[in-house]
């Protein structure tokens, strides 16, 4: 597990929402960054419902302060607070999510997975984020299934990163009834959900990478996946038509 901690950092408590001083070491602690209060509330709830501890901040700068990476706030100190993942909006005033990503990846906390959220489905943007080391790229509005999948993928017991890190863009067909008790996606002919080895080069069962495109040729072609009426792919298609 990626357990890069924020050690010995003190910070001005009133600057951050959702303090979590008593962190259960088994719980995943996520730092969510978004300038929109509506979105912060939603992502916070999404993460809490998937049993994560959440800290929300409204800017990249605050995020860096929280992590202790802000040069100006070098006296920051908070014992025992570890950030297991950062999830950030792309479009933010001041520091964008992309810039935040670069800063984190260029720091001593580069091992912390960073997920980017964006309302714009721009391939170039997605690619550049991945190139900078983003773990994943979620299209807004973020859904419970996205967060569940993210958590399962990144923090499952026998998770192992595969060489071919295929990016997940919520393209997989889902059943229209989003059943919270079923964190995994509905089976479809092209996706191997079983624990037997799939055609994907993933070593352990139950890892999410085996759920990603089994058709590796469609990596960069967002819209080629088969879509059911309520699938994310269809949503993406429709959205691009909207605009």
């Amino acid at each position: 597990m990626a357990r890069n901690g924020v050690f010995s950092r003190r910070w001005r408590a009133e600057e951050f929402d959702n303090l979590c001083p008593s962190l259960d070491s088994d719980e995943v602690h996520v730092l969510a960054v978004d300038d929109s209060l509506v979105d912060r509330k939603v992502i916070e709830r999404l993460l809490k419902i998937t049993s994560c501890k959440v800290t929300t901040v409204d800017s990249g700068r605050r995020a860096l302060q929280f992590l202790g990476l802000d040069e100006q706030e070098s006296f920051v100190r908070f014992d025992g607070l570890k950030v297991d993942m950062v999830i950030t909006d792309y479009c933010m005033p001041g520091m964008t999510g992309y810039e935040l990503l670069k800063k984190i990846k260029g720091s001593s906390f580069r091992e912390i997975p960073v997920v980017i959220m964006s309302s714009e489905n721009v391939l170039a943007r997605i690619d550049s984020c991945l190139e900078e080391g983003a773990e994943d790229f979620l299209l807004k509005p973020v859904k419970l299934s996205d967060v569940k999948r993210l958590k399962d993928y990144m923090f499952s017991e026998d998770r192992s990163r595969t060489e071919s890190k295929v990016m997940n863009k919520r393209k997989l067909p889902e059943t229209s009834s989003d059943d919270p008790s079923k964190p995994t996606l509905s089976p479809s002919p092209s996706i191997d959900m079983s624990s037997t080895p799939s055609s994907e080069p993933s070593s352990s069962p139950g890892t999410f990478s085996s759920l990603l495109y089994t058709d590796s040729s469609s990596n960069s072609n967002v819209l080629s996946m088969p879509s059911s009426p309520d699938s994310p792919t269809r949503r993406l298609k429709m959205r691009s038509q909207d605009l």
């Binding site: 929109s36 509506v38 979105d39 709830r45 479009c91 005033p93 807004k140 859904k143 419970l144 989003d178």
Partner: protein
Amino acid sequence: MLGLGVERLRADMNRLLALLFHQGVLDEQYLQLQQLQDESSPNFVSEVVNIYFQESEKLLRNLRFLLMDREFSDYKKMGVHLNQFIGSSSSIGAKRVRNVCVAFRVASEQNNRLGCLRALELLEHEYCYLKNKLHELFQFRATDRAAKTASSCSQVPSSALKQSALSAAKQKRKEMR
């Protein structure tokens, strides 16, 4: 009697919700928000929506203010506000509002003042409609909850077994009507 009232209330509420979906006012993201509501966070939807209302009204004021300047309209700033509006609208499932914002943004990118004015008017109209309907929905929920609380209170028998059996029988008769 109380049982019937609650059912009718729920039917009306569902009908309104279905209508809003049918009209494209709301989309599945709204349902997603409802899914996030439970006993630990029983007012989640209305909390988020109220934040959305506050933010939206600020944005609408800003947009109107920016357009009122006849000499020079800061289209870039308008675009920033619209991006925020688009984002928050899509996060709560306010589909029609979002779509109008998108069209508005196009007009602002073209420095098209007339187009922007038209879009703003339409946006204000759509926003008002959305707000009214969501308030109606929340009103349904509030009444529904009050009714639920009231009915559960009347079902609690006060003392002896005899009395509880009697009231249980009465309740059964009520439900059978």
